[in-house]
């Protein structure tokens, strides 16, 4: 059990993409496009292979914990840089590097001919490095570093086409909304340091039970709360920003302005799941705060349901998938909130494969229809692009939760866990949200799918000539991911035994901490072994998923009048959903406009009038110029003036000392 992993191998995993990013980023101007993408792909594929190797070793019981060097030391404040490699880490590493490798290859085709080709490769490699630091680190510091670094690259990549105004606005929006979350996150980390005096996971986790029994509490605003609850909630606010949970979800759909490979890699498979990863990683802390767990569950449940409703009516192919991402992230948080962290991570992994697949397939479609993203101007595309059609179908089935595809295994477990957890209204709300969410998920997925590939052919004439299947560099990654989307769920459930109750035979072992009283998997097993009908518990989700698919088939497989009629009948609801619950408008009125007005006031009155005109030009610069002129005037060049200055100097000093006595 105690075999240590090789330090060199572990360091190489983040180092390879970093080296590739630096080489291509700094010298990309001198490299041919082909050379740059070979360097980056080599770096990421190398990291992926090493990750798989590390995964195999961890499967055999190896692990690693250690610091490499001290980044900063200031009195009591020590910031070491190190790694903590266990089951939770390796599954993330493998997911991140494999999806990233697929996206890298896909990018060759998708970004072909773009003026920023090498820059793009350098960014996504650097992003992969940051994400690896985030998951592999052994302290809150490395977590924070990775967290901010992925945020930076997300910003750079959303605004990749910086000449488009929309892209810039979306990038800024993503960055600013994340700042709100990061504020909480930073407070959480500082609170950890304040209370525990260290930022290393191992030490903090070891100290938590003792700390909780002390019962430290604090007043925050007017609430009295446990210190541990405060810490967890603050950290979770960070997760809400990064993982796009209501009300901080607004940036994610807009981030679709970035190139599609980015939507797949960053805004579906990896970065946005950092919040879920963090909650699972910090399970030894969250487990001790019922309040924080309840908050995680409620926020997750609301997001899962709310974003699913918005997804029902969107017409932009990428936005449908984006809202689905928000919603699925909600599922993951529900899993974590009901203490089924392993299931949350399981869903994270399966979701990474099928969501990346859906995005890349959508990208393939967009590529074919000349960058149009509106599903109202598609239809019957299956004739033109069979490979994309088949792979996307697999992705859609996986997302909807149809067995034996990946989503079924993980999503079903989440719903069952929520059903049996027993947290009063919290888990009730969660259960009903995720259960009804299943119907909507299946519906919007297949609505999008049918409108794109079936239904009537609504492709504009000028585009039709261009329709073609995408090149191999695009379809091959789709196929690799399709394999993942097909088998990852079965593999996780049956080979890794993620639903397993015993820590000994469950893949995650001790990397995740769950209190016995909380463990929903334990209860699930009891319920399933008890007598009586629990058909609904086991098959409810599947029935709803099939119902959702059927409804979508009924309305959208062929061109029918029902969608329009439905929209007309419930025009209010339809408009409400189409406008995304008016979240953006609300933010605009409540936060953005007042902030802008306040900013303008400070700028015009404060900065320009008071500081620039009054203080700087009148005061400081005036003073400096006056002083300067006086100094220059004193420097006459006459030697007796100089001597006089010296004598006066001595005289003044003496007078001062004499008068002082």
């Amino acid at each position: 059990m105690d075999t240590m992993l090789s330090t060199t191998e572990l360091l190489a995993i983040p180092a390879l993409p970093l080296a590739a990013a630096l080489i291509v980023g700094l010298f990309g101007w001198a490299l041919k496009e082909k050379v740059s993408h070979i360097i980056c792909i080599a770096g990421v594929v190398g990291a992926a292979l090493l990750s798989v190797h590390v995964f195999m070793q961890v499967l055999d019981g190896a692990s690693f914990y250690g610091n490499f060097w001290t980044w900063m030391l200031s009195g009591r404040f020590v910031v070491p840089v190190g790694m903590m490699i266990d089951q939770l880490t390796v599954i993330m590493m493998m997911t991140v590097t494999i999806v990233s490798a697929c996206v890298h290859i896909y990018t060759i085709g998708y970004m072909h001919g773009d003026p920023g080709y090498t820059r793009f490769f350098s960014y996504i490699s650097a992003f992969t490095f940051s994400m690896l630091v985030l998951v592999m680190g052994n302290s809150f510091f490395t977590l924070f570093f990775g967290w901010e670094a992925v945020g930076l690259f997300s910003y750079l990549l959303i605004g990749f086409w910086f000449k488009r105004e929309n892209a810039n606005v979306a990038a800024m929006k993503a960055f600013i909304v994340n700042r709100v979350g990061d504020f909480g996150f930073a407070i959480g980390i500082l609170a950890v340091w304040y209370y525990f005096g260290t930022v290393e996971y191992k030490e903090v986790f070891a100290a938590v039970p003792q700390f909780v029994s002390q019962g430290d509490s604090l007043h925050f605003l007017s609430w009295q709360m446990d210190a541990i609850t405060f810490i967890c909630i603050a950290l979770f606010i960070g997760a809400m920003g990064k993982s796009a949970q209501v009300p901080l979800h607004v940036w994610l759909p807009d981030s679709m302005e970035g190139p599609t490979p980015i939507s797949a890699l960053i805004h579906a498979a990896t970065m946005v799941t950092a919040g879920v990863f963090m909650v699972a990683r910090l399970s030894p802390m969250f487990e001790f705060s019922e309040t924080a767990l309840a908050m995680v569950t409620v926020v997750g449940a609301i997001t899962a349901w709310l974003c699913a409703t918005i997804g029902l009516v969107q017409n932009d192919i990428k936005r449908v998938i984006a809202y689905s991402t928000c919603s699925q992230l909600g599922y993951m948080f529900v899993a974590c909130g009901v203490s089924a962290y392993s299931v949350g991570i399981f869903h994270l992994m399966t979701h990474a494969y099928f969501k990346a697949l859906l995005f890349l397939a959508a990208g393939s479609v967009i590529h074919a229809v000349m960058a149009d993203q509106d599903i109202r101007r598609m239809g019957q595309l299956r004739k033109y692009m069979p490979a994309t059609y088949i792979t996307m179908l697999i992705g859609a089935l996986a997302l909807s939760g149809i067995p034996p595809f990946a989503g079924f295994w993980s999503k079903d477990l989440i719903i069952e866990a929520a059903a049996v957890r027993g947290m009063g209204w919290v888990s009730e709300l969660a259960y009903w949200s995720v259960l009804t969410g299943v119907f909507m998920t299946a519906f919007y997925t297949f609505r999008m799918f049918f409108l794109t590939f079936h239904n009537s052919d609504r492709v504009p004439e000028e585009t039709r000539a261009h329709l073609h299947e995408s090149p191999k560099v695009i379809t091959v990654p789709l196929m690799i991911l399709a394999i993942g989307a097909a088998v990852a769920g079965w593999w996780g459930a049956n080979i890794l035994n993620i639903p397993g109750v015993e820590t000994a035979n469950n893949f995650f072992g001790n990397s995740i901490f769950v209190m016995e009283a909380h463990n929903p998997l334990l209860r699930l097993e009891e319920v399933e072994h008890s007598a009586g009908g629990h058909f609904w518990l086991e098959y409810g989700a599947l029935v709803l998923a099939l119902a959702g698919m059927a409804t979508a088939w009924f309305m959208y497989f062929r061109e029918t009048v029902y969608p329009a009629r439905l929209a007309a009948t419930f025009s209010g609801v339809h408009r409400f959903l189409l406008n995304k619950w008016w979240f953006d408008e609300m933010n605009w009125k409540i936060f953005i406009m007042p902030a802008r007005n306040f900013g303008t006031f400070l700028w015009k009155k404060g900065d320009l009038a008071m500081i620039d005109r009054g203080l700087i030009h009148g005061g400081i610069i005036g003073g400096v110029i006056a002083g300067m002129n006086r100094m220059r005037a004193a420097q006459t060049g006459m030697v007796y003036h100089y001597a006089f200055a010296m004598v006066i100097g001595v005289f003044v000093l003496l007078t001062y000392l004499v008068l002082k006595g």
Binding site: G627, M628, R632, V639, Y642, A643, M646, G649, V650, L657
Partner: protein, 484 residues
């Protein structure tokens, strides 16, 4: 009849001094026999002297204080470290002179004078006693007077030398007058004994001590250009041959500040309250003069003269802190200053337009397009002088600022911070000329491998000290350990 024993003094600690003295005289003679086309050899000999003296000093360096010549000479790590800085200053000064002085007659005298000046500084750093102090100081001063006026046919140069000489004599008078008061009260020239004497002096001696202290400090302030005793500096800097300006900006300042530290730490500790007040006001005035007047300058040499004054003002914070960190900070400051200032002067000497030395700020216009390497190096020196992290100059300021804050002078540190912000303006202005303005007259560089090497070495040193300041700070702290 009592038997008078006259044991031979312990000369071992003085070997570097004796070596430099012998070499200075030897070069003076040797130069007479050198044919005209080989006059450069005296410069090489002088450079070798610095190198060998440095080796000797390193060889003799030990963590202990060694007294020699019956208490007239002290060799401790502080003196050894200061001597190394002085050798480096002289060495670079000679390198900068090679090309500049090529066409001047009597270069043997010139290099010999630099070595004698160096000898004076070396004696100052090793002075445990007012007599040695005065001896070294005058030796150094006489050499620099002559060197400033070396270009006799240049009016500006002669005028500067004469002014410097007159004012220097006045300052020496102040110094001697101050020493005489302290001798009057304590009856000794020895620093340590005088310090004990002052501590035990009665109230009736108070006024005499105040007079002595003020005159003593005034005399020393003159040497390191502390306002209002700084007025000679811009004129002398501008008038002197540029390599001498560079030479004067390092060695004499090192020696002067070392003496300052020894006097404050050994002679005047009992008067700390009084001298702290005085030095605080002088420091504020010095920073104000240095940083404000520099803005008005169009001549880069004058600007650097005021910049020296400003930097001395910052280094004074270390004196005012009067603790180990402060004194070590002064050494750190001098170490970094050595490299960044020498580098800047090397670039100035390299810059020629149609055979004429570039001295005006606008002469730098467009440098980045013609010689990006020089432009980058000058940029580094100027950024470092302005104290931008992470270059050496940042740490120099950082160390003394922290020391003075920890000694409880928060407002002084804030004032210094404000002046360093003002100071950044005139450094950055030169960078603006270098990088953003168009070239007007064609450049014509004095190409010299040694000069280029100097620029490279100093630039690398400024960057390296900025990135890895730890070892330098540790060495300076170790060097100061015998003082406090």
């Amino acid at each position: 009849m009592t038997q008078v024993t006259f044991p031979l003094p312990d000369v071992i600690p003085l070997i570097p001094e004796m070596f430099v003295a012998v070499m200075a005289m030897a070069i003076l003679l040797w130069d007479l026999f050198l044919p005209k086309e080989r006059k450069q050899w005296s410069a090489y000999a002088a450079m070798a002297t610095c190198a060998v003296a440095a080796a000797l000093t390193l060889k003799l360096a030990s963590p202990d204080s060694v007294n020699a010549f019956y208490g007239f000479f002290i060799l401790d790590p502080f003196a050894s470290y200061a001597k190394l800085l002085i050798y480096a200053g002289t060495f670079f000064g000679i390198v900068l002179s090679l090309d500049y002085m090529k066409d001047e007659p009597n270069t043997g005298e010139y290099y010999s004078l630099m070595l004698f000046g160096t000898l004076g500084m070396m004696l100052m750093t090793s002075a445990p006693n007012f007599v040695t102090l005065y001896l070294g100081l005058e030796l150094m001063a006489l050499c620099t007077y002559v060197l400033v006026g070396y270009q006799r046919d240049v009016l500006r140069s002669s005028e500067a030398a004469l002014k410097y000489f007159i004012l220097g004599s006045l300052a020496s008078g102040f110094l001697l007058y101050g020493i005489s008061f302290i001798y009057g009260v304590t009856g000794t020239f020895d620093f340590a004994k005088a310090g004990i004497g002052i501590a035990h002096a009665g109230a009736d001696a108070h006024m005499a001590l105040m007079l002595g202290m003020v005159f003593l400090l005034a005399g020393m302030c003159f040497k390191v250009s502390i306002a209002p005793f700084h007025m000679w500096t811009p004129d002398a800097y501008e008038g002197a041959p540029t390599p001498i300006t560079a030479f004067m900006s390092i060695g004499p300042k090192v020696a002067g500040l070392v003496i300052f530290i020894r006097v404050l730490a050994d002679v005047l500790p009992a008067l700390q309250v009084d001298y702290t007040t005085i030095l605080t006001w002088l420091a504020v005035l010095t920073m104000a003069v240095g940083n404000l007047a520099a803005i008005a300058q169009r001549n880069i040499k004058r600007m650097l003269a005021y910049s020296t004054i400003g930097h001395i003002g910052f280094a004074m914070l270390g004196l005012i802190a009067a603790n180990a960190d402060g004194y070590a900070g002064v050494l750190v400051y001098l170490t970094v200053y050595l490299f960044m200032n020498m580098g800047a002067f090397a670039i100035i000497i390299l810059m020629r337009r149609e055979g004429i030395q570039g001295e005006l700020l606008d002469d730098f216009a467009g440098l980045s397009r013609v010689r990006p390497g020089y432009a980058l190096a000058m940029g580094l020196f100027l950024f470092s002088l302005a104290g931008i992290p992470f270059l050496g100059g940042f740490w120099a300021k950082y160390v003394v600022f922290i020391a003075v804050v920890e000694a409880g002078h928060l407002y002084l540190a804030l004032t210094a911070l404000l002046f360093s912000a003002v100071g950044a303006f005139y450094y950055l202005r030169v960078i603006k000329y270098i990088y953003f303005d168009e070239e007007r007259v064609a450049f014509d560089f004095a190409e010299s491998r040694l000069m280029q090497a100097t620029v490279a070495v100093t630039a690398i040193a400024v960057v390296a000290l900025g990135l890895f300041p730890g070892p330098m700070i540790d060495i300076c702290k170790a060097a100061i350990s015998n003082i406090i």
